[in-house]
Amino acid sequence: MRSIVVGGGKVGYYLARELKRAGHEVTLIERDEAHARRVAEKLDIEVILGDSAHPHTLADARADEADVLAAVTGLDEENLLVCQIAKLKFGIKKVIARVNNPENEKIFKLLGLDEAVSSTSIIASLIEREIGFSRLKSLLRLEEVGMELIEVELEPNSPLAGKTIEALSKHLPKASIVATVLRDGQAILPRGDTKLEPSDTLLLLAKPEAKGKLEDAFGEKAR
């Protein structure tokens, strides 16, 4: 795979390094001479000094042969422009733009860039995944009504197995309710006397402020 990385700041440097390690042929474009030199000294890749949004620079980087271009400078408008020029003039099919301001993620999509990567959103989803380690997984945020749909998977040896929904509810925060129990691919609408079984998946509706207490109910303390 032949990749072009635009921007030799921290993100560009590490991205180029990882791509190189993964066996890509990488060319990095950077407009600042000191930055470009630093990358060239540290990484064994082709570094081109120039204005990335200029077709000459992209031609020097053999953009016509590239499989993918990632624009990861600190300026959203530059990233947008480079990606659009790469698509229009060089026909690069896969272009990825870094979005610095999360507000621009939507705009980039509206303007025809399918791959807009926002570091803020990535960190947010990582945190989300961290929360997932304690078995709470946010499926859907219903922003207008301030509710969240949360999935909880019970472990095979969960101490909650055998308890009824009614008994479980005593341990759950008020601003939450068990909406559905998923068992063997079937959805069960829970009643107070519905008994939980090991490996059940619960779908809960909860207000955001209830999440901390839900953590307690399904996390270490509940075990």
Binding site: H54, H56, L75, L80, K89, E103, L110
Partner: protein
């Protein structure tokens, strides 16, 4: 017209003031409060501090009812992004972007933006002022059907009358520059050495001017 101008540098501020004096409702936007000092004291439009690529700020500036947006900052990429937001997100009818780099003209056009390429305009003006010869395109009319071009009258045309060189519906000498003064071309006027000719030409014939004059390319 309700017009938004992004960028209050020397170009943006001059444009804002001129359009405002022409009677349009103008809002000029700049990131830097300082920039508004470039506007004259009597400026009649509104100013708004903010980033021209910020959707919310553009909404506050009234982009939803704007007839036109001119992106005139010193950055091509900011101008192209602001212009695309105006066109694609808000559907503003007339959207122009100031560009320095000619290589971005094609992208702008592909996105429905009217490019104002200062480099192209400057190069054309300078070539015209230097009168170095050749056919120079000055203006494209309508959707490009007719062009206004200028050229130095070659020696071999001296003494020919304007009407002899007209091709009905295709080519006409409209004016000439003689000793630093411009004259409307009359049918019976004779061309002199040293004249600059301003011609209207149908776009498909713009490369055929030597043939129309019956001269070689080198004589131009």
């Amino acid at each position: 017209m309700y017009i938004l101008i992004v960028g209050c540098g020397s170009f943006g501020s001059e444009m804002a003031d001129t359009l405002s004096q022409d009677g349009h409702d103008v809002v000029v936007i700049d990131r830097n409060e300082h920039s508004f000092r470039l506007l004259p004291a009597g400026f009649n439009g509104l100013t708004q501090r903010g980033n021209g690529i910020d959707e919310e700020m553009l909404r506050e500036a009234g982009i939803e009812r704007a007839d036109a947006l001119l992106a005139l900052t010193s950055s091509d990429s900011v101008n192209l992004m602001a212009a695309q937001i105006a066109k694609s997100v808000f559907g503003v009818e007339r959207v122009m972007a100031r560009l320095y780099d000619h290589s971005r003209v094609e992208l702008a056009q592909a996105k429905g933006i009217e490019p104002l390429c200062l480099t192209d305009i400057g190069v054309t003006q300078a070539r015209h002022a230097l009168r170095l010869g050749g056919v120079l395109r000055l203006l494209s009319l309508g959707a490009g059907e007719i062009e206004l071009v200028s050229l130095n009258a070659p020696k071999s045309l001296s003494g020919r009358r304007i009407e002899e060189l007209e091709l009905k519906g295709k080519f006409r000498i409209a004016a000439l520059l003689r000793q630093g003064r411009a004259l409307l071309a009359n049918a019976s006027d004779e061309i002199r050495e040293g004249d600059t000719l301003y011609c209207l030409v149908r776009v498909d014939l713009k490369d055929a001017i030597p043939e129309i004059f019956g001269i070689t390319q080198e004589e131009l």
